[in-house]
Symmetry: C2
Subunit: 464 residues, 2 copies
C-alpha cells in the first residue's frame, strides 16, 4: 500500500487549530471591502469558502452589505448556498436574485432542497418562479408542494435506485455504470416487486462486498420499514433512530416505491424537533436571530400577553389577602419566594417530561410510575427547602410562626409543581396539543396560584 511519491502537505489539525465554521474576522474584512467598493478584494476573500460558510457569511452581513454581495455573486450564484440560509435571509436573497436567476438556481438543486426553497416564497413570487422552471421539474415540485408540511413527502428525494430481485450483483453494478439518472448521493438500493412495491434493500457496502454472480434476492435485507408519504417527520426521525436506518423507502397509498429518505435529511429534522421543543417552552416560534424586528415583536407579543393574563390571575389571588398584607408587611417581602421556587421546580420536571414524551421514554406504560416519582422528588425537596427557607425567615423577621407559614407553603408548592410538571404535558399530548407549547403557561399559573394562596392563606390562619 506504500505510495512514497504522494504526501499530504497540510500540517495535521488538532482540536485547537482545526478551523470549524466561518472566521468572524473574515466577515468584517468582506463587509469593509464591499462598502468601499473593492469588489475584486471581496471576491478574492470569499473565493476559498465552502458554500455553507458562504451562507453563514451572507447571514452575518447587514442587509445593505448583503445586497452588495449578492449583486457581486449574481452571475454565478452557487445554488447550494440557498438551502443553507435561514428562512428570512433566504427569502431576502430570493428577492434579490429575481425570478430568472432564482429559477435557474432551483433547477440545479435536489428535489427536496428545491421544494423547501419554493415553499418559503411568497405566493406571487412562487407562481412566477414556478412558471420559469422547465415543465417536467415544475410538475414534480407542484406535486411535492401538495404534501403536508413536515411530512415524509416533503423530506424525500424522488431519485431512487430500484432493481428486481432476480438480478445479480454484477447486473446491478453494470446498470448503475450505464445509467444517467442516478440520485446524487445514495447508500442503499431497493428491490421492488412487479408492482414496484419495495420488498428489500441492499446497502452499497454489502453490494460491493458480494461476488458478481450473487443474486440480489439472496443478499437483500427484507425487514424494510416503508414510510408512507404523509407520515410526520418527527415519526420518520424516530424510526430512523430506533432502527439505525441509513435510508428508507417512501411508498404511496398503493405501497409503490416513490422515493427515499436518507439519514442526512434526518439530522436536520432531529435538530429542528429538539430545538422546537426548547423554543416552544418559552413561547418563541421563530428559531431565528435573522427574523426582522417587527415580526419578532409580534411573535413574542402573543406569548407575553397570555403571560400577562396569568400574572393578573396570580395578583388577584394576592388581592384576596389584602387584609393580611396590610397588617404584616413581611408577607409581601417573602411572598415571591415560594412562587419562584415552585415555578422552577415545576419547570425542571416539565422539561424532562416534554423531552421524554418526544423521545417516547414517557408513555402510558410508565406514566403513573414516573408521576409518582416526581411527586416524591417534589415532596423531598419541598421538605428540605422548607427547613432552609423557614430558618432564614425566622432569622430575618424573628417570627417563628412566619417561618412555619413559608415552610408549609414550600412543601405544598413543590409537591404541586412535581405533579403539575408531569401531568400537564401528558394531558396536552392526549388532546393532541404539542406539550411544549401550552405547558409553561399553565404550569406557572398553577405554581404561582398555589404558592401565593398557601403562603398567604397559612399566614391568615396562623398570624392574624
Amino acid at each position: 500500500m506504500s505510495d512514497a511519491g504522494l504526501e499530504s502537505a497540510v500540517a495535521p489539525p488538532t482540536a485547537d487549530t482545526a478551523r470549524v465554521g466561518l472566521d468572524p474576522e473574515l466577515v468584517g474584512k468582506v463587509a469593509e471591502a464591499l462598502e468601499v467598493g473593492e469588489i475584486d478584494r471581496a471576491r478574492e476573500l470569499i473565493e476559498p469558502l465552502h458554500y455553507a460558510d458562504l451562507a453563514d457569511l451572507i447571514e452575518a452581513l447587514s442587509a445593505d452589505q448583503r445586497v452588495l454581495l449578492v449583486e457581486m455573486m449574481r452571475r454565478k450564484f452557487p445554488a447550494e448556498i440557498i438551502p443553507e440560509l435561514d428562512e428570512p435571509v433566504r427569502n431576502e436573497v430570493a428577492e434579490l436574485l429575481g425570478t430568472q436567476d432564482l429559477a435557474a438556481a432551483i433547477a440545479k438543486l435536489d428535489s427536496d432542497d428545491a421544494l423547501l426553497l419554493i415553499d418559503g416564497l411568497e405566493e406571487a413570487r412562487r407562481r412566477h418562479v414556478l412558471h420559469a422552471i422547465p415543465a417536467a421539474l415544475r410538475r414534480e415540485l407542484e406535486e411535492g408542494l401538495a404534501f403536508p408540511d413536515d411530512s415524509a413527502g416533503r423530506l424525500m428525494q424522488r431519485e431512487v435506485v430500484a432493481v428486481p430481485q432476480y438480478w445479480t450483483v454484477g447486473e446491478c453494478i453494470d446498470d448503475m455504470r450505464e445509467s444517467d439518472e442516478l440520485p446524487s448521493d445514495f447508500y442503499d438500493i431497493f428491490v421492488v416487486d412487479s408492482k414496484h412495491r419495495p420488498v428489500g434493500g441492499v446497502p452499497l457496502d454489502k453490494l460491493v462486498r458480494s461476488k458478481r454472480s450473487v443474486r440480489i434476492g439472496d443478499i437483500m435485507k427484507s425487514d424494510l420499514r416503508p414510510i408512507p408519504l404523509d407520515m410526520d417527520q418527527e415519526q420518520v426521525a424516530f424510526l430512523f433512530k430506533q432502527h439505525d436506518l441509513t435510508s428508507a423507502p417512501v411508498v404511496d397509498r398503493m405501497g409503490r416505491l416513490v422515493g427515499t429518505i436518507t439519514i442526512d435529511d434526518i439530522v436536520d429534522v432531529v435538530e429542528e424537533e429538539a430545538e422546537e421543543d426548547m423554543l416552544r417552552l418559552h413561547g418563541v416560534t421563530d428559531t431565528d436571530v435573522h427574523t426582522p424586528l417587527l415580526e419578532t415583536v409580534r411573535s413574542r407579543f402573543v406569548w407575553l400577553l397570555i403571560n400577562l393574563g396569568t400574572a393578573f390571575l396570580a395578583s388577584s389571588v394576592i388581592g384576596l389577602f389584602e387584609h393580611a398584607l396590610e397588617k404584616i408587611v413581611a408577607l409581601a417581602v417573602l411572598m415571591p419566594i415560594t412562587a419562584s421556587m415552585g415555578g422552577n421546580a415545576g419547570t425542571q420536571t416539565m422539561t424532562v417530561a416534554v423531552r421524554a414524551l418526544a423521545t417516547r421514554d414517557l408513555t402510558t406504560a410508565n406514566a403513573l410510575r414516573i408521576m409518582w416519582k416526581e411527586v416524591l422528588v417534589g415532596g423531598i425537596n419541598g421538605f428540605l427547602f422548607a427547613l432552609i427557607t423557614g430558618a432564614i425567615a425566622i432569622a430575618w423577621f424573628g417570627d417563628w410562626l412566619l417561618g412555619l407559614c413559608i415552610a408549609g407553603a414550600m412543601v405544598f408548592d413543590l409537591i404541586a409543581a412535581g405533579f403539575a410538571g408531569i401531568v400537564i404535558p401528558i394531558i396536552s399530548q392526549r388532546f393532541r396539543i404539542d406539550p411544549a407549547i401550552s405547558s409553561t403557561v399553565v404550569l406557572t399559573t398553577v405554581t404561582d396560584v398555589i404558592g401565593f394562596f398557601s403562603f398567604l392563606g397559612l399566614a391568615t390562619l396562623l398570624l392574624l
Copy 2:
C-alpha cells in the same frame, strides 16, 4: 423489471396505521406474563420485537419485572439492545447480566458502542469486565477510554477501508470482496498516502458507478475534513452539518488515519446537544426519566438552592420598600406582574440566543446588531404592555399614578430583559461557560431585581 410471482403481502401503511415504536399495551401484557410466571407466553410476546423496541420494553418495565425479563433472556441476550438503553437502566442490566455474559455481549458490539457501555460501568465492575474480554479488544477499549469524554476519539469506529490512490476501482472492489476485516457499515472508502495520512475519499455510490479500470485517484474527492482525535463532538457535529458529510476520517497527531466517524453517530450527538441546552436552561442535568429517585432529588436540589439564593436577593430588594408597602397594599398585589413579564421576555430572548450560539448563527460578527434588535423588541413590547397593564391597574385600583408606576416599570424591565437575555449568554460563552447552564439564574435575578426595584422605586417617588 417485472417479477409477477413475488408480491409483498402486507397492506401498505398509512400515517395512521404505520406502527412507530413499541405498543404500550404490549408492555402491560409482558409485565403480566412475567409476574404470573408464564415464561413461554412472555417469550412469545417479545419474539417479533426489534432490538430497539426490546430496549424500550426493558425501560418501560418496573425494576422487579426487569429482573425477571433479563433472567429469561439471559441465555441469548442480544448485545445490540445494550447501547439503546438509557444509562441508569443500562447499568442495571449490566449488573443483572454479570461479568461473563456482559463481556461476551461487549465483544459482539462495534467499538464505539462497546466503549460507551464500558465507560458507563462503575470502576470495579469495569475492571472485571475488561479482564474477561479478549486481550486485543481489551487493548483497543482501554485506548478508547483514554480519549476525553465527548471527543471524536470516543465517537469513531476504528474499522475503516483505506486504499492507495493508484489502485483501480476494480482492484478496490476485488479487495473488499476478499477481505474479512471490513467495518459492519460504511459509506465511503478513504485514500491514504504512504504515511497512512488521508488524502481523499470516495463515496460508495461513486465507486459502483465507475468503470473497473478507473483509477481511484481520479474519482476521489480531495477536500477532506480530517477530524483530530480530541475534537469535541459538538464541533464534529457542526462540521458534518455544515459540509453535508456522510463520513469523515479521524486522524492522530501525526495526521495518520485512525478511524472514521459516520453520520449515524452524528444524529445522536445533534439530538443530545440540542436536548442538553434545553435541560441545562432549567437546571436539569439528567435527561432521564429512568434516573433513580434520590439521584433525581440530589441533582435538582443544587439548582433550586441557587434559585433560592436569588429569590432571597429579590426579596431583600422588596424589603427596601417596606415603608411604601405598609402604606399602599396595592403595591404588594401588583408587584409580581412586572417581574414575571420581565422574566418571560428575557427567557424568550435568551432561548433564541443560546440556540443561535450553539448553531453559530450568533457570532462576534453580528452580536452587536442582534443585541440592538433585542433591546428594541424589548422596548416596543415594553411600551405596548405598559399601556395594557397601566390601564388595567388604573381600572382595578382607581389610581392613575399607580398605573403610571407599573407602566414605567414595565418599559424598564422589558428593555433590561432584552439586553440581559442576549448579553448574559454571550458573556458566559466568552468565559467558556456553557451559556445554557448559568444564564437563566442570572437572567431572572436581573429581571426580578429591576422589576421590583423600578416598580416600588417609582411608587415611592410618585405616591408617597
